[in-house]
Structures are given as C-alpha cells and as structure tokens.
C-alpha cells in the first residue's frame, strides 16, 4: 500500500503578520499580531465569496414557501380574520434600517483600521457594538409586538392570520439572531486582528438582506392580515 504521509501545508507567509506592521491584520491574517498561535485556526481553508449568496438564496426560498402558503391558505378558506398590526412594528423597522446604516459606517471604519493607516486607539468596534445593540433592540421590539398581540387575545392558534404572523415574524427573528451571532464573531475576530474581509462582507450582506426581507414581510403582512 503506497500510503504517503505528507507534511501539512505551511501557512502562506503573506498571512503572517508583517514585521513593523501595526498588526491590525490587513484583512488576511490567520495568526494574530502577538503571534499567539493558540487562537489561530486549526483548519483554515481558503475563503469562499459565493457562500453568502447561497445562504441568502436558501432563505429566500424558505420565505417564498411560507409566503405562498399564506396566499393559498388565505384564498382557500372563509375563516380568515384580519387584524391590525401592532404599531411597534413600524418603529422596529426603523431600528433595523438604522442598524444597516451603522453597520456600513463600521465597515468603512474597519476598512481604514485594517489597512493599518490609523492608530489602534480609534476603535472601529464601537459602531459594530451599536449595530449589535440595534439588532437586539429589534428582536426585543418584536417580542413586544408578540406580547401586545397576546394581550389582545391573539395567539398562534387563534386564527390562520395570527398563525402566519407568528410563524413569519418568529422565523425572521431567528434569522436576525443568526446575524447577531455573525456580528459577535466579527467583533471577536476584530479584537484579535484576525478578521478576514470575507467574514465582514458576508455578515454585512446577510444583515442588509435581513432588512430587505423584513420590509418585504411587513408589506406582505400589512396587505394580507
């Protein structure tokens, strides 16, 4: 049996911190500035730029399925009761849209930071934290909307319209929580100077997509419920 044991691949010297470099990463470090290898990835395949679009496509298909279910279910029966959407939803929409703006601001700041042009004192993470906070605020706002509906006696099983409201908003909120996880990942990587441009770009695209998706859902719910 001609089994050959090969030396594992060496880290591309480009990925190691440059001597004299401020150590902010320059977008591609696997090894942080202080050379602590324990935080380096054990397994570091090359970055994939198309993956985020694959993810967004799958999420689109999922919500397309839910939407068509809503339309068919509404069309097939006489038991559909409309209700007024809780007004806090509109505030939540503004919060989510604002979070996209703050994320873009932080993206620019991180880009300047990663390029090592400015000193480390100006923390680009601040805007990421603001985005994170707005995201959490959005989820809390959604929870407030559910509480308000519950207070009105509208539960998941009360009526098909409320069923769809809870299913769609909860599924979206879960995906927003996933985006928050992505933001935390980015902040952690940034603090170690091991952030890759890909990770931040993918998180940002995902986050903006959550915005667009929410606006679409709000329109759908506003028209159909």
């Amino acid at each position: 049996m001609s089994t050959t044991v090969h030396e594992p691949p060496q880290i591309d010297p480009d990925r190691l911190p440059k001597q004299g470099h401020p150590g902010n990463g320059g977008w591609r470090d696997l090894v942080p500035a202080n050379g602590d290898l324990h935080v380096a990835l054990d397994h570091s395949p090359p970055a994939s730029s198309s993956a985020i679009y694959v993810v967004l496509f799958a999420i689109t298909m999922m919500f397309a399925a839910f939407s068509s279910a809503l339309i068919v279910r509404k069309g097939s029966s006489l038991d559909w009761q409309t209700f007024t959407l809780p007004s806090i939803l509109y505030l939540n929409t503004l919060i989510l849209l604002a979070s996209s703006v703050t994320l873009e601001v932080s993206r620019r700041r991180v880009a300047v930071f990663m390029g090592g042009l400015k000193s480390q004192a100006e923390s680009p993470a601040r805007w990421l934290y603001i985005t994170l906070f707005l995201g959490l605020l959005f989820v809390a706002g959604q929870y407030a909307a559910w509480s308000q509906l519950r207070a009105e006696g509208l539960y998941l099983a009360t009526n098909p319209s409320s069923s769809f409201f809870y299913v769609l908003t909860a599924t979206h909120a879960l995906h927003v929580l996933g985006g928050l996880g992505g933001l935390i990942y980015v902040i952690r990587k940034l603090s170690k100077s091991t952030l890759r441009r890909n990770a931040l770009d993918a998180t940002a695209r995902y986050w903006h997509f959550m915005d667009v998706l929410w606006v679409y859902l709000l329109c759908l719910l506003w028209m159909k419920l």
């Binding site: 049996m1 395949p45 399925a65 279910a69 279910r73 097939s76 029966s77 998941l156 098909p160």
Partner: protein, 594 residues
Amino acid sequence: MHDISAQAVHHHGPPTSFIRKHVFSLDHKVIGKQYYALALLAAFIGMALSWMMRIHLAWTNAPIPGLQLLSKSGAPGGVMTPEYYLQLMTMHGTIMVFFVLTTAPFAAFGNFFLPIQVGAEDMPFPHFNMMSFWVTFAAFVVLVSSFFIGDGPTLGGWTQYAPLNAVGAVAGPGQGLGVVLWMASIALFCVGQLLGSLNFISTTLDLRVKGMSLMRLPLTAWAWFITSCMGLTAFAVLMPACILAILDHVAGTSFFVASNLVINDQLIPKSGGSTLLWQHLFWFFGHPEVYIAIVPGIGIVSHILITNMRKPMLSHRTLIYSMGALAVLSYMVYGHHMFVSGMNPYSSLAFSFPTLVITIPSTIIVLIATFSLYGSRLRINSASLFSLGFISMFVSGGVSGFFLAQPSIDIMLHATYFVVGHFHLVMGVAAMFGIFAGTYFWFPKMTGRMMNETLGKIHFWLSFVGAYCIFMPFHYLGMAGNVRRYSSFPDDFLQPLIPVHRFITVAALITGAAQLIFLYNLIHSRFWGKPAPDNPWEATSLEWSTPTPPPFDNFGGELPVVYHDPYQYGVQSSAGDYVMQTSPEQVKTEHEEK
C-alpha cells in the same frame, strides 16, 4: 517571524485525537465515509422492511418470526396488521429516499471526491460540513426512534399527505407522535442537506485549483454541483412545510386541515386548512428530490464508463447542459404527481407538457452514453457492469414515465403498482446501481484496498436479473388494476394476481440476499483486500493523482495545476493511452472540447 512559521506548521497538522479524527471530524473524506456508512445501515434496514412487506403480501396470514418483538400490537403473533403494513411501508420509503438515495450518491461520494476533483484541500466550511453529517445522523435516529415510541411510526407514506398528517392520533396508529417525529426528522434532514449544499456549491465555485475551468470539471463534479443547487432549492421549501405540519400537531393551528372533516367517526375540531397546500409544498420538493437521487448517479456512471471505454463521451458539454436542464425542469413538472388530487384540470395540462419535455434531456443523456459505447472496447469490471445496469434501469423505468406523464392515462394508472414499478426502476434501482458502480470504482481510493472483482460480478448479475424480476411484473400488476398500499388482496379481481406477487417476493428475497455478497465483499476487502495502487483504473481526474488513500490535505501540501480537459483518453502519452489532468505533457488529441 521564522519561528512563528515553524510553529504554525506544527499547529496545522492533521488531528490526532480519536474524536476529531473519526467521530467529529472536519475532514471531508472522513465525513464522506460517515455518510456512506449511514447510507449502508439505512439501506439494509430499508431492505429488511421491504422483505417483511413482500412476505406479507405473498402469504398474508403467515407469521414472520420475530416481527412481534418489533411491535406487539402491530404484529400480534408475527402477522402484521394492515396498519402496521403501512407503517413499515412508510419507513421503507422514507429511509430509502432520504437516507440512502440522497445521502449515498450525493453526500457520501460528493463529500469525499468533490474537493479532490476540483483540487481543494477541503471544503470552505468544515464545521458546517461536520454539522451536516451529525444533523443528518440525528434525523435518522429520530426517524428510527418512532419504531419504539408510542404506537409506532406514522402510516402516511413517505409523502405524508394532508390532512392525515395533521389531525393527530385519530387518523390511526402513529399518526400522533409518529408524524411529529417524522416531520422533525425530515426538517433536521433538510438542515443537514442545506449545510451540505452550501459547502458543495461554494467548493465548486470558489475552490477550484489553478487551470480548473468549469468545463474542465469531471462530470461527477458537475453532477454534484447541479444536485446541490437542486437540494438548496428543494430542501429550503420542504423544511417550512414540515414546520407548519408540526405546528398543526403541537400548537393547534390549522394550515392543512379542511373544515368539517370526519375521521374514524370523529369530527375534527379544525377548519379552513388547505390539503392541497401540503401537496404543492411537498411535491415542489418531491420531484426535484428524485433528480437529486439520480443526477449524481448519471455523473458517476458517465465518469466510470468514460474511464473504461478509454474515450470521452460524444459531447461533454451536452451532457452537462442536459443535467442542468433536468434540474431546471424538475421544478416545473412537480404537479404531475397531483393529476388526480382535485386541482384544476388545466393545471394538469400545464404540468403534463414540461413532464414530456423533461424526457428530452433524459433521452439525450442516455443516447450520448449509448452511442459513445458504440465501437468502444469497454473494459468489463464490476464498476462498468453496474454502470451499464444503471443505463438499462434508467431507460426501462423511464419509458413507463411517458405513460404516466399524460393525465388521461394517469387517471387509470395512478396509485397502482405501475407507478411503484416505474419509480423503483428509474430512481430506486438505477440510483442504487449508481451507488454500487461508484463503490466498486472508488473503493480503492477511499480505503487503499481493491474489492474482489469476482464477487462484484456475481453481485451484479444477481442484482440485475433480480431487479428486473421484481419490478417488471409491477407494471403488469398495475395495468391489471392492482392498487398500491393494500396490505392484502382479498378482492375477487386481485386474487388471480397473487401468484405474481409470490414470484416477486421470491425474487426480492433472493435479490436481497445477493446484497449480502456485496456487504461481505465490502467488509472483507476493507481489511484483507489486495493493496490498491494510486491509479488502478488508469484514470485521468485529480482524485487519481493523489496518493492512496489521500493524505489529510488531499495533495500533500502542494496544490496541483490542471493542464487538460478531464477525459483525455485514447491519446499517446508517456503514461499510456491517457494523460492526467495534472500532467503538463502536451499530447495530440482529437477530443479536445472547443
């Protein structure tokens, strides 16, 4: 700087702990093997279930020894009740479609070979890849657990039609908790396959090595890529459907239950749901699913035939485009499963037309394979035999599809054994033959040892003849009016058909036993087989340019460079009549794709 580099090398070595190496491994090759093992286990469970069903159909009152141990109430004294027959049937279908036909040709072989064939060290998201397998495994455990929890697994069939999937225990044994477990299992399965598809697509698009243009990808890589695109779309729709069905069960919603429904003399206290909605959501997944099962087989079989014909297919591009056409069309034809569902008859017409159109790419694929075989001196081995068997089964099963595609004929044949014969041949047996062909072909690369060829050929002939003996009579039964899903045939017009059923049962038992030869060959060769050289089949693609079995990072630290189209056979080179994709040697060839 220098020191960091040296330590980094050490840090990036292959995993050493048992858990990381063999259980929660991030290595796509180990994950591929795990998927294969899961599919193997599932296939034998599914086969055992079909044996019990076949024995019951042929000798209805004969007790099956040991069956009462599986379920006291379902099989008192070893004779299964009609409900238990349906429960076994549901589990047979679900296990086979999801955990064998989807996992083995796509997830198992794809995981192992796609990164190697594109020249990557691994998939871009190894943690997702690991999760993909373990979530799928959890789905399998949840599904099988329904045998032992409550009143057994659901009896609704692998399609789980509404409203019986949403009204609860009143609809029969297993329709309460059994359905919830089924839905949870399939929703988990969807998560696993979505994670897998994500890795497959981004591997193909982003991780191709230098020189590996899209058209230089082997047909297998194309097949897996196309399949993962289908999987991404299909499983993302099935999951919401399962979530809605679970809510109907546990949260009291009414998505799928119509008003004023009386089941088993009980008025169902739900209203307004749409039973057709489930069918639309399910078949939007369900029809692409049969192509998810078969397209990897088409890729694997083409890859193997080309290697053994020693010449490329007549047109590499047309084969790829045809597989792509199958993928796109598979979403437009799904309504042909619903001709008699009560949907608008005009919809039937609209779905019938693309169903007939989808036979065009299928026919092109078969014709290219057949005419490429013409005049070639095919090397006969177990892999090439199973590949020929694949084409035979695909054609035989596909021809009956022409009949079923037409609503007027389908009204007569719907829910008869004709349909059962059709899909077992075209997606069941054909895809299984693709799996067998892939196993005999790639086993040396996966394990470092050769399989026994004599046993492989015996396995092929028994399976080939056996499968026809089982499934050809199904068509006759269907035309004679034999309805599917009946657990026994007491009606007058069905009585004369019982001898046919007995013949099928005997054939199924023999063919099933023949699979034990395969199992023996697999296990024996794994440990005591002849050591395999790096390129036993004199093949050209990248997986044969790495050592056997491939090292942790696939290419030993040095990524290959691709110089040629994937199938440069019938040329004169220093290696023989082929030139590997990684060889910089310039050869004259008449087969270069333009």
